[in-house]
């Protein structure tokens, strides 16, 4: 991460092997090691790790409600 003025703060983001420099002005809370969503050279959101498994948890909840019980 290159510390600079808030509007031009840059960070290196690894896109599964390809590393690009990305503007971090919109994610002032981001720190080294975070996962961010990048659009046209700007990080627009920091991935919330607690919420990242929700899509699987939700499926399990449906399962427990019995809606997925085998016919």
């Amino acid at each position: 991460m290159t510390e600079d003025a808030p509007l031009t703060r840059l960070g290196k983001v690894d896109f599964g092997g390809i590393v690009k420099e990305v503007n971090l002005a919109f994610v002032p809370e981001a720190v080294v090691g975070d996962y961010v969503l990048v659009h046209v050279g700007f990080a627009i959101s920091r991935v919330n790790e607690q919420e990242a498994t929700r899509v699987f948890d939700y499926l399990r909840e449906i399962d427990e409600l019995g809606e997925l019980a085998p016919p």
Binding site: L7, I44, E51
Partner: protein, 366 residues
């Protein structure tokens, strides 16, 4: 890659599809707003995994597709002016205007360059101080903060040879237009997750109430889309019409404060024309008067250009979810990605291009 591959798990996807099959008792038509979602749906065959009662129709969220044709003409006109360096995202280059596209302007000698970020264009402007550098600033709310930041930094750093040709559009007025149409058939929406990372989703709450439609903020991976469909169908079956957030790992209700602030600083809401749809009130963004010096339309005096569109292309109906790509007589014959009639066949996010690439046969009938 983490936070990507796990959301493409085929077994989990089938479980979701089974759950939706058990849940759905009536036929429902749901629109995914974003072109990125459309591509995931067609590429991974998500629509074919769903029960026949559920129909997905494809929405207007393809920035290249809805950019009005006169703006393409203005881009070509500006790009051909002496000394201009015209910068654009790659998929705008082959969108046909009435007098050719940007790629043909390049072939005629224009200096047209593909950039990855608007900041690449401001850097080019700094490196070439004697030449006017113009950036083609199109897109939805997702792209607006980046483009606003480029203009803001250009103003702050005195990059006087930089300007933007702007036609930004907004999702909520498009949803309002679709729901207000007498031929509307959409009963629920998957809102575009990335737009909502920036804007949040409070704007959708009055829309859901007014039109009594469920709106589920949804991500872009197959499992995201399937969960979004499940949540939407559940609301429809239960007679609810709320805004729900499937994409909680990236979207907060209030959106991204910093990104919204820079949009408000540089842009103001205005009426915009949408290609294939027409004028929608208060549906887009343009530069505020305080940033008028960076407006390429004024700088190059092209504001007056206005044109008509090809009559055979039904992209306007496709973008509103009224028709599907393969229902067009020109699809795959007179209209292909190599020789497109309309923007929905050009863009990597266009519904016609998705059908052409992944499904050169009719999808299940709707």
């Amino acid at each position: 890659m983490k936070y990507l591959d796990e959301y493409r798990d085929g077994q989990e996807a089938r479980k979701y599809a089974d759950a939706i099959t058990r849940l759905a008792n009536k036929p429902w038509t749901i629109m995914e707003v974003c072109g990125g979602q459309t591509h995931a749906i067609v590429r991974f065959g998500i629509d074919e995994l769903l029960p026949p009662l559920i129909t997905l129709v494809h929405g207007p969220g393809c920035p290249v597709c809805v950019t009005p044709v006169e703006l393409i003409d203005k881009a070509v006109e500006i790009a051909l002016r002496p000394d201009v360096i015209f910068c654009s995202f790659g998929d705008m280059l082959r969108v046909p205007g009435t007098r050719g596209d940007l790629l043909s302007a390049k072939a005629r000698g224009a200096d047209v360059r593909i950039v990855y970020s608007p900041l690449d264009a401001t850097r080019l402007a700094q490196a070439n101080p004697t030449r006017p550098v113009v950036f083609f600033a199109v897109g939805f709310e997702t792209t607006a903060p980046a483009n606003a930041m480029a203009v803001h930094l250009a103003a702050k750093n005195g990059i006087a040879n930089f300007s933007i040709l702007v036609s930004h559009v907004l999702v909520p007025p498009a949803i309002e237009a679709i729901l207000s149409s007498p031929v509307n058939r959409v009963q629920g929406f998957l809102a575009a997750g990335h737009v909502c990372t920036v804007m949040g989703y409070t704007e959708y709450e009055p829309l859901a109430r007014k039109h009594r439609v469920p709106i589920v903020v949804t991500g872009f991976e197959p499992l995201d889309i399937l969960q979004g469909v499940y949540m939407c169908v559940r609301q429809l079956e239960e007679g609810r019409c709320e805004v729900e957030n499937q994409y909680t790992r990236a979207v907060r209700r209030e959106g991204n404060d910093e990104a919204r602030r820079i949009i408000g600083e540089v842009f103001e809401v205005m009426t915009r024309r949408w290609r294939g749809i027409g004028s929608i009130p208060q549906s887009g963004l343009g530069l505020r008067e305080s940033y008028a010096a960076f407006d390429a339309e004024r700088r190059f005096d092209v504001a007056g250009l206005s044109v008509e569109e090809s009559s055979e292309c039904i992209s306007g109906l496709v973008l509103q979810g009224i028709r599907k790509p393969h229902e067009c007589a020109a699809f795959g014959t007179r209209c292909t990605p190599e020789s497109p009639q309309g923007a929905t066949m050009v863009s990597s996010e266009g519904a016609c291009a998705a059908y052409f690439r992944y499904r050169r046969r009719p999808a299940k009938s709707t």
